[in-house]
Assembly symmetry: C2
Homo-oligomer: 175 residues x 2
DNA sequence: TGCAACGATTGCAGACTGTGCAAGGTTTTT
DNA sequence: AAAAACCTTGCACAGTCTGCAATCGTTGCA
């Protein structure tokens, strides 16, 4: 069972759900979308908090990510299953990618309340959303690490990278 | 013709290519992969240049991206077509996403020659690859802008975002 | 109560993607 | 020339997903 999804037919899924195959496709556009579901959106209140926050931007973003990861951590089993599906199902990856793109656009608009340049906001949104993906990846591949701890590690990498890219102090390069 | 790919069958593609449908699937794993092809890898020499570069990291990365975008710009027609396919074909998106993930991992190893922390390298690779995606997006949506100019705009956003995230000077936040 | 409208569910036929297998043909090697 | 390797093809088949039309239960209203 390399995939787990390819080894199950829609007929079987529908039967197990107690509906006809035709009805299954009335509910879900396709098998993969049904399997991975929709990733949780950033909550409106969290986005508002980010919009109106006054702490340094990095701290407010980290807080948003912590909240999001907290939500994700509630369903570790699902997260792990979805991860396994994504690893070997290209269509599923594309569907998720589309959903995450929407979230990133959404987040870009939020950031526009904090910075006045759209490209900057887009870069921040990209960094933020991919940090979550990176945390999940690390959590999946490292033993005995919580999702939250994984995010901390990833985020520190993001901050260090920003430090290097903003290039304010070449001295760090020296060792 | 909303998609252009869904309105064409593999039978037609194979026939137009002068081979049987069965042979078509010997060459390509599926229709979408055949349509979008494999994105150009970073060239080995460019990666070497990045590994051994001595300029500030941001400058070396920008140079790599410029080179890559230069390559992409050679086939603007293809780029535009692929973009149209990706917009409405989830499976194609997933396939490309997989290929880009591989490139990102590849780039992460390269960055490990410049920074000693894997998470930092991963964040840099993520930033770099997504800047290319962002540039293509901007180029597709803005009239009268070259790919190279789009990258410049996107990259400036990345640098500004890094500036904000590294948080070395809260003064900028003040206005 | 009767009936009409509505949405949800279903079966069925069919188009399409992709794979396994075996047959046939061509090229290369010995 | 014989053998080996390789490429192409046809065929059968499993599986996904859609369009269409029929059915059924519920609700609202006369």
């Amino acid at each position: 069972m390399q995939n787990g999804l390819e080894s199950v037919t829609t007929d079987e899924i529908a039967a197990a759900s107690g509906v006809s195959t035709r009805t299954f496709f009335n509910y879900y556009p396709n098998k993969e979308a049904a399997a991975i579901g929709h990733p949780p959106d950033f909550s409106d209140s969290d986005k508002d908090a980010l919009r109106t926050g006054t702490a340094p931007l990095a701290d407010d973003i980290k807080w948003l990510l912590d909240r999001q990861v907290e939500t994700l951590a509630k369903d570790e089993a699902i997260l792990r299953m979805v991860g396994r599906i994504l690893k070997c199902n290209e269509k599923a990856r594309g569907i998720l990618d589309g959903a995450l793109s929407d979230q990133r656009e959404d987040l870009t608009e939020v950031f526009l309340s904090r910075v006045n340049n759209r490209q900057t906001a887009a870069a921040l949104a990209q960094t933020a959303t991919s940090a979550i993906g990176g945390a999940i990846f690390l959590w999946e591949h490292e033993d005995n690490i919580t999702l939250s701890a994984a995010l901390d590690r990833v985020w520190q990498g993001v901050i260090d990278a920003s430090w290097l890219l903003s290039g304010t102090h070449e001295k760090d390069q020296l060792y």
